[in-house]
């Protein structure tokens, strides 16, 4: 590893078992600085587990993870100041409003109150959440939860974003805004890692991709290289293996 220009996210041998099931099997992964990195895989492939371990939310059985060269587990505080994380399906401070959540997190991160206030206003505007000023997060819809989560991710202006299923349940208009924000963020030198099962989205946004299946990375590299002559979707199905069911199986359907 080159210390002068360390990778945005460096994963070395991360491993996790739950009971007898190996969820993530000694995975190595390197996300170069300034890249838009897509992690794809079917349900239960271990994407969430891998990303959780990489950002310090889940203790690995083995292996290390570093953000911009700083180890997430031994020097968490420093690593996490560079890091914006959107986990999938975790609770927020549910009984606060969107603005209160942002203000609260700004204070937790020790940011200047005036700065937090300005950024919160802008983030709520961009995420189209200003109309829900009086709604508590607990009563947000799934899409709104995602958006407030994304806002908290961006609040402290991190250099690396790790987003677990960021576009799930987000409406097309907000999704478009978000895509623009993320693309601009990368063009300015930031790095994004996102997981998804929407291949078209990954193909459209990401420059680099890794395919996970059954806890291991089965393919990685620039999007063009991984998909080859076909689409990413077809490559994906070939890599992780298509289901055994055939359309002919449900001959009675629709008759």
């Amino acid at each position: 590893m080159n210390d002068a220009n360390p990778p945005a996210l460096s994963i070395r041998g991360l491993h996790k078992t739950f009971g007898r099931k190996v969820s993530v099997d000694h995975v190595d992964l390197e996300v170069p600085r300034g890249s838009f990195f897509g992690l794809v895989g079917p349900n239960g492939a271990g994407k969430t587990t891998l990303l959780s371990m990489a950002v310090g939310l889940l203790r690995p059985d083995a292996g290390t993870a570093a953000v911009l060269g700083t180890d997430v587990w031994s020097d968490g505080l420093r690593a996490k100041t560079h890091l914006g994380v959107l986990p999938d399906g975790l609770a927020m401070p549910e009984f606060l409003t969107g603005r209160e959540v942002l203000t609260f997190l700004g204070r937790l991160r020790g940011l200047d109150p005036a700065l937090v206030d300005a950024r919160a206003q802008e983030l709520l505007e961009v995420m189209d959440l200003l109309g829900a000023e009086q709604t508590l997060v607990v009563d947000y819809s799934t899409g709104m939860r995602k958006k407030i989560g994304l806002a908290t991710t961006l609040l402290h202006n991190p250099e690396v974003l790790v987003l677990d299923e960021p576009f799930e349940a987000v409406d097309p208009v907000s999704a478009l805004t978000l895509k623009r924000i993320l693309t601009r963020f990368v063009s300015l030198g930031g790095s994004v890692v996102l997981s998804s099962h929407v291949m078209a989205l990954v193909e459209q946004l990401c420059d680099t991709v890794a395919v996970m299946s059954d806890g291991v990375v089965v393919a990685r590299g620039p999007v063009a290289q991984v998909r080859g002559e076909t689409t990413l979707e077809e490559t994906f199905v070939t890599l992780v293996g298509a289901g055994t069911g055939t359309v002919e199986g449900l001959s009675w359907l629709g008759t």
Partner: protein, 623 residues
């Protein structure tokens, strides 16, 4: 369809009631059978005056009604939920009827049916016609209770969505606790009021018959008196009530099932742009206080200890004893600690933000501060008000020494047990049917309750010494000791908790996420595999042990010390002449301690038997 639903319900019940829950279910059923059988015997007993028999029966019926109403509220959701069948194309009224009939199949209904045979027994004493009438009426009355229970379950769940309703739930829970722990005080009041010699006052007797639980009894009595118009009226009322309840319940089945209604979901005005606290600790305290104000589950956590402490202290007034009043605030503080023994479960997976911002230490301290800010003033104010109201001048240093230590100690204990014995709770937005629904794991609450009794002891000891030496200064020094002990415990235990959370926050998150501990080594509270025999042994020795130590042991000592030698009720030691009374009290404490030791040994043995592989979680929860 009804047959299928019954089969489904039995299967679900079999799968959900296992281990210790099965023991509880069967214990409860056995106690219920004994009580119901007692009512049947009572119905045939020639008591003097004669009016006492139906009045006592009516009280029993009313008690059962209350049990049917609050029982389902306190227990986890019923096994057969309407939501499971929501997408089936069955007309709503048929589904309601089918679910109702399936709801009848169960231990509780069987016990209730047994109870209402007492109505038939009593009616038989009144004549042949009332007896014949009593048979269908008893069946109708049982159906009414079940229906009331169903509707109450829905209503309470809906109430809990609003803060006030959740607070009410907490109070109901507290009332049940108080009645089960000190219901005997009502008995003492009853005995000393002379009711058993003269019968109940007329107003009370007729009130008992106005409550729906007494309607069948009223009809039977009217039949015996030949007042047929009344009989028709009462029976019609029962049928009408049943119909109304059935319709109400049927309507509730048709709602968007499983979806959480937005009721609490707003704040009065837009959020101010500036928060009053700039530093992390202030930010968390601010968030906590807002959450205390807005979260229904926390409203219940606030109202329940308050109601419990106040009621426990007030109940002895039924026989004119004011000695418990000064302790109300202390009792609130102790129950509050017990209620908050798992404070992180209120937030579910929300702990991830603490992890991401590396604010574990600050978080523990801030939550402690919020705890003190919420419960401290309440406990102190109640202590001051109730001590003043009791008129017991000597009680001031005692009450203040106890309450300060209990509040401070509580702040330490909740942090400690939350960090060292965490149990998973549902995420707030997943508490679909009852937003006040919390964790089912109550082991640590139980432990904290008893641990919270300890901090006041040093201060009280000094006050006691001051009383012996007749030194006012020494007595008030006891208050100082109480404050010191409280502060020390809050600081010290909080420090341990903060260090622990800093080490194990990822494991806490995993626990909340998966509902299971990460591995057998880093948390000590996972479920142990106990055989039925061990569970029974543990439950029995634990229950009897506590009964022996506290009411039969320590409480009788307290009675003797305070000169209340005339309180007897079920206290063995109070019936015996001295020195046997004292020896019995001490013996009870020792016996209880031995029983609790047996219970803990069962647990230890089970823990030693456990292998790490056997208890690993099956799988990660994937979404």
């Amino acid at each position: 369809m009804v047959g299928d639903l019954i089969g489904l319900k039995l299967a679900l019940t079999r799968n959900s009631i296992t281990g210790s829950r099965a023991v509880w279910a069967w214990t409860g059923a056995s106690v219920g059978v004994v009580l119901a059988a007692g009512a049947v015997v009572l119905a045939g007993w020639p008591l003097r005056p004669a009016s006492l028999v139906p009045d006592l029966l009516a009280i029993a019926y009313l008690t059962w009604l209350i049990g049917w109403v609050v029982g389902p509220v306190m227990s986890p959701a019923p096994p057969l939920r309407p939501a499971h069948l929501a997408m089936l194309p069955i007309p709503r009224h048929r589904l309601a009827l089918g679910l109702l009939v399936a709801g009848f199949v169960g231990l509780a209904t069987a016990v209730t049916a047994l109870l209402f045979t007492s109505l038939i027994v009593y009616a038989a004493r009144l004549g042949v016609v009332p007896a014949l009438l009593a048979v269908p009426l008893a069946a109708l009355q049982v159906s009414l209770l079940v229906l009331v229970s169903r509707v109450a379950h829905v209503a309470f769940g809906r109430l809990a969505r609003a803060r006030a309703g959740a607070a009410l739930n907490g109070i109901v829970l507290a009332v049940v606790l108080v009645l089960s722990q000190s219901g005997w005080m009502l008995l003492v009041g009853l005995l000393s009021s002379g009711v058993l010699e003269e019968g109940f006052p007329d107003g009370f007797s007729s009130a008992l018959r106005w409550v729906p639980s007494g309607w069948a009894l009223a009809a039977v009595e009217a039949a015996a008196a030949g007042a047929w118009a009344t009989v028709v009226l009462v029976v019609a009322a029962m049928l009408a009530l049943a119909a109304v309840l059935l319709v109400l319940w049927g309507t509730s089945l048709g709602e968007a099932r499983g979806a959480r209604a937005v009721v609490r979901g707003s704040v009065a005005r837009a959020t101010p742009r500036r928060a009053p606290f700039d530093r992390p600790v202030g930010a968390i305290v601010g968030k906590e206080l807002r959450t205390w104000w807005r979260d229904p589950a926390r409203s219940a956590a606030l109202s329940a200890p308050l109601a419990w402490g106040v009621l426990t202290a007030v109940l002895p007034l039924t026989f004119g004893a004011v000695e418990l009043l000064p302790w109300a605030g202390t009792l609130i503080a102790i129950m509050a600690a017990s209620w908050l023994a798992n404070m992180y479960s209120f937030d579910g997976t929300g702990i991830w933000l603490t992890l991401q911002t590396s604010t574990e230490r600050v978080d523990v301290r801030a939550r402690q501060s919020a705890y003190l800010l919420v419960y401290g003033p309440i406990a102190l104010l109640v202590t001051i008000a109730f001590t003043a109201a009791s008129g017991l001048g000597w009680a001031w240093p005692w009450a203040l020494a106890a309450v300060t230590a209990a509040v401070g100690g509580g702040a330490g204990l909740v942090a400690y047990s939350s960090a060292f014995m965490p149990a998973p709770g549902p995420d707030v937005h997943e508490r679909a049917e009852n937003p006040a629904e919390g964790t089912e794991e109550i082991g640590s609450s139980f432990l904290v309750f008893f641990a919270a009794l300890v901090p006041p002891l040093p201060g009280l000891g000094v006050v006691y010494l001051g009383t012996l030496r007749d030194s006012m200064a020494l007595q008030w020094a006891g208050v100082l000791v109480g404050i010191l002990v409280g502060a020390l415990l809050a600081w010290g235990l909080g420090r341990l908790a903060a260090a622990r959370l800093q080490r194990t926050a990822p494991e806490l998150l995993l626990l909340m996420r998966s509902g299971r501990p990460a591995s057998s080594t880093d948390t000590g509270d996972e479920e142990l595999e106990l055989t039925t025999w061990e569970t029974t042994l543990m439950t029995v020795s634990w229950t009897l042990g506590i009964l022996a130590v506290i009411p039969q042991g320590l409480l009788t000592m307290l009675f003797k010390l305070t000169g209340n030698d005339d309180v007897r009720v079920w206290f063995l030691a109070m019936y015996l002449p001295e020195p046997w009374g004292w020896l019995t009290s001490i013996g009870m404490v020792l016996l209880g301690a031995y029983l609790i030791w047996i219970a803990s040994r069962v647990l230890k043995r089970a823990a030693a038997r456990r292998t790490p592989q056997a208890s690993a979680p099956e799988r990660e929860r994937t979404r």
